[in-house]
């Protein structure tokens, strides 16, 4: 099967200290589309995103990306594949002792294909997210919402094929959510695969998401 996007096949994930988190998850997150995964806190949304990003390996089942069995890749192969992924972590994971712009540029540093335009792209993204005036400020000196938008800029730089966002709107007001959705729509328009995990009702109401899933007791169900 050579479908484009991220394809989960009977995905199960167990953790020794937390039991079974995902049970036989089967879903296809297509490229050129945006999917929203909702669920209660602790339902396993972040785990699902980490699995899709290749940061975790499934206990059983497989993940295919653009027709390639990513979950079966060796670690070095998966590391190279991960360059095609842009991710916003729930805990943001920004480097606190460098500027926001430097944080945004980090994914491009070892990539000769991305680096030449990185500086201009990074500034442009920060401007669009209303952080242009804060580009030289370290994350410790900006608000939670601004940090979250910087993390979004970091995920978007390099125009990733797979965009995975974990609670990207948690600290944003309505205006900022509009800006966020516009950026995601642009990513979809360039045929990226966008997966957002959130329990923010404002995102649930957004028209951008063609498919909405609900993660309950480790199972992923399509919402009507």
């Amino acid at each position: 099967m050579n479908s484009t996007g991220l394809d989960c096949r009977a995905l199960t994930f167990k953790r020794s200290d937390a039991g079974t988190i995902l049970r036989g998850v089967t879903a296809c997150f297509a490229c050129g589309g945006a999917s929203l995964v909702t669920g209660l806190t602790g339902a396993g949304k972040s785990t699902l995103l980490h699995l899709l990003a290749g940061l975790l390996g499934p206990t059983s089942g497989e993940i295919w990306a653009d027709g390639e069995p990513v979950s079966r890749f060796s670690a070095p192969h998966r590391e190279r594949w991960r360059r095609r992924v842009g991710i916003v972590f729930q805990h943001l994971h920004l480097l606190n002792d460098v500027s926001l712009l430097e944080n945004v540029l980090v994914p491009c540093i070892p990539r000769p294909d991305c680096w030449p335009d990185a500086l201009a792209d990074g500034r442009r993204l920060l401007e669009r997210l209303g952080l242009g005036h804060l580009k030289d400020a370290p994350p410790s000196r900006v608000s939670g919402g601004e940090r979250q938008r910087a993390a979004l800029a970091r995920a978007l730089i390099g125009r990733p094929r797979f965009l995975l966002l974990d609670e990207p709107s948690a600290f944003q007001d309505d205006d900022q959510i509009d800006g966020l959705l516009r950026l995601l729509a642009e990513a979809v328009a360039r045929h990226a695969c966008v997966v957002v995990c959130s329990h923010d009702p404002r995102l649930a109401a957004a028209e951008l998401f063609q498919i909405r899933y609900r993660l309950t007791q480790g199972r992923l169900e399509v919402c009507p």
Binding site: L55, L56, I87, L95, V98, V106, P107, I109, P110, R154
Partner: protein, 384 residues
């Protein structure tokens, strides 16, 4: 996709930025590495330059030295009889009796060398030839300005006027020595007028020195000890190697500590592990992390090697920096006129690279490898 270890400018810039983020650690590592390079290069280059000097001095030394020995040790040679017996030996060229020995000076044991003005041919024009009652002091006798007197205690006591200093190019045996008129030297050493300490000889070809030994021993009626220039040189070089070798071995704990610090600073710490995990999660490969690690190490290591080597060179060869010879060989006074040959310089650098560079690079690789094999999800979870 990039090759794993090729040059990557943004990565080098980030490595420099990364060092700036941990400036105190980087500075500490730079200083300790520079100091270690200085110490190691100082010893290695001193060894090389002293060996080089020994080779140069060996060219000026006699090919053979004959000393009379008895059950009680060295004994003086009767000059006239010795010359009469040695001259007929085929191949023994320019036999010349020498008067020298060790006496007590006000600043410790000094070597006295007797000089017969009548036999001197190539004496430097700017150095006065000592007459009876006069002395020329070696490079270690800085305290004795010309015009002052010096008292020497041997078999007899003798007070002499210092009339000058020996040039820096004089043989090393005269570094802590004094040159007297041969009559004064015989007096202080307790030799009769027709006695010498030993007999120096030249040969036509170096290889003949060994072959002449039995002939010379047969020609003389007393037991003698015959030393060739090659033997003497080997003895000196062995002595130099032994001393510097032990000194370098004593640096082993410092080198091990340096490697441990590099390895610990590079890989340990929850924050560092979290950061490595984050970079991996953001698309950095293990090769990228290893390169970042190596660039960080090289950005500290390369300037530290340059600075350390330059400091070692200045300490060893800059005018006035005489302590190195005193520290390593216990030499006093002004330093010896040392010079470093191209071969010696390269050899020192190579050895230094092996001694300091290898453990440093090994520690860098090891700590870099720790970052490469870490699981990004685990590292992120630790730092969350």
């Amino acid at each position: 996709m990039t090759r794993p270890l090729c040059w990557n400018r943004p990565l080098v810039v980030w490595a420099a930025r990364d060092l700036g983020r941990h400036a105190s650690t980087a500075l500490l590592l730079f200083i300790s590495l520079s100091l270690l390079v200085t110490l190691v290069m100082l010893v290695l280059w001193f060894d090389q330059s002293l060996s080089h000097a020994c080779l140069l001095w060996a060219e000026q030394a006699p090919d053979l030295v004959v000393r009379r020995v008895t059950v009680g040790g060295w004994a003086p040679l009767p000059v006239a009889e010795t010359l009469a017996r040695v001259r007929p030996v085929v191949g023994a060229l320019r036999p010349r009796p020498r008067v020298w020995g060790v006496v007590q000076s006000p600043v410790g044991p000094w070597t006295v060398v007797g000089l017969d003005p009548a036999t001197v041919s190539d004496w430097p024009a700017d150095v006065p030839l000592p007459r009876t009652g006069e002395a020329l002091v070696g490079t270690a006798g800085q305290a004795f300005e010309p015009g002052r007197s010096i008292r020497l205690e041997g078999r007899a006591s003798l007070t002499l006027n210092v009339v000058g200093r020996l040039p820096l190019s004089a043989a090393p045996v005269l570094h802590d020595g004094v040159v007297l008129h041969v009559r004064d030297a015989r007096r202080v050493l307790g030799l009769e007028a027709d006695q010498a300490t030993d007999l120096a000889l030249d040969v036509f070809h170096d290889d003949e020195a060994e072959a002449l030994r039995p002939d010379l021993a047969r020609a003389l009626p007393w037991p003698v000890s015959i030393t060739t220039a090659g033997e003497q040189l080997r003895r000196q070089l062995d002595d130099i190697s032994r001393r510097t070798g032990w000194l370098l071995v004593s640096f082993a704990p410092a080198l091990a500590a340096m490697a441990l610090v590099v390895a610990t600073v590079g890989s340990a710490g929850r924050r560092r592990r979290w950061e490595m995990g984050l970079l991996k999660a953001l698309g950095w490969s293990g090769g990228d992390l290893l390169r970042l690690h190596l660039y960080r190490g090289l950005l500290i290591g390369a300037p530290a090697v340059v600075l350390g080597s330059a400091a070692a060179y200045l300490l060893l060869f800059a005018p006035g920096a005489d302590w190195a010879a005193g520290f390593i060989f216990g030499m006093t006074g002004r330093s010896l006129p040392l010079q470093l040959s191209g071969q010696g310089s390269a050899g020192g650098l190579l050895l230094g690279a092996l001694m300091v560079g290898m453990p440093y690079m090994a520690a860098l690789f090891w700590s870099g490898w720790q970052a490469v094999v870490q699981d990004p999800a685990e590292c992120l979870a630790e730092g969350a």
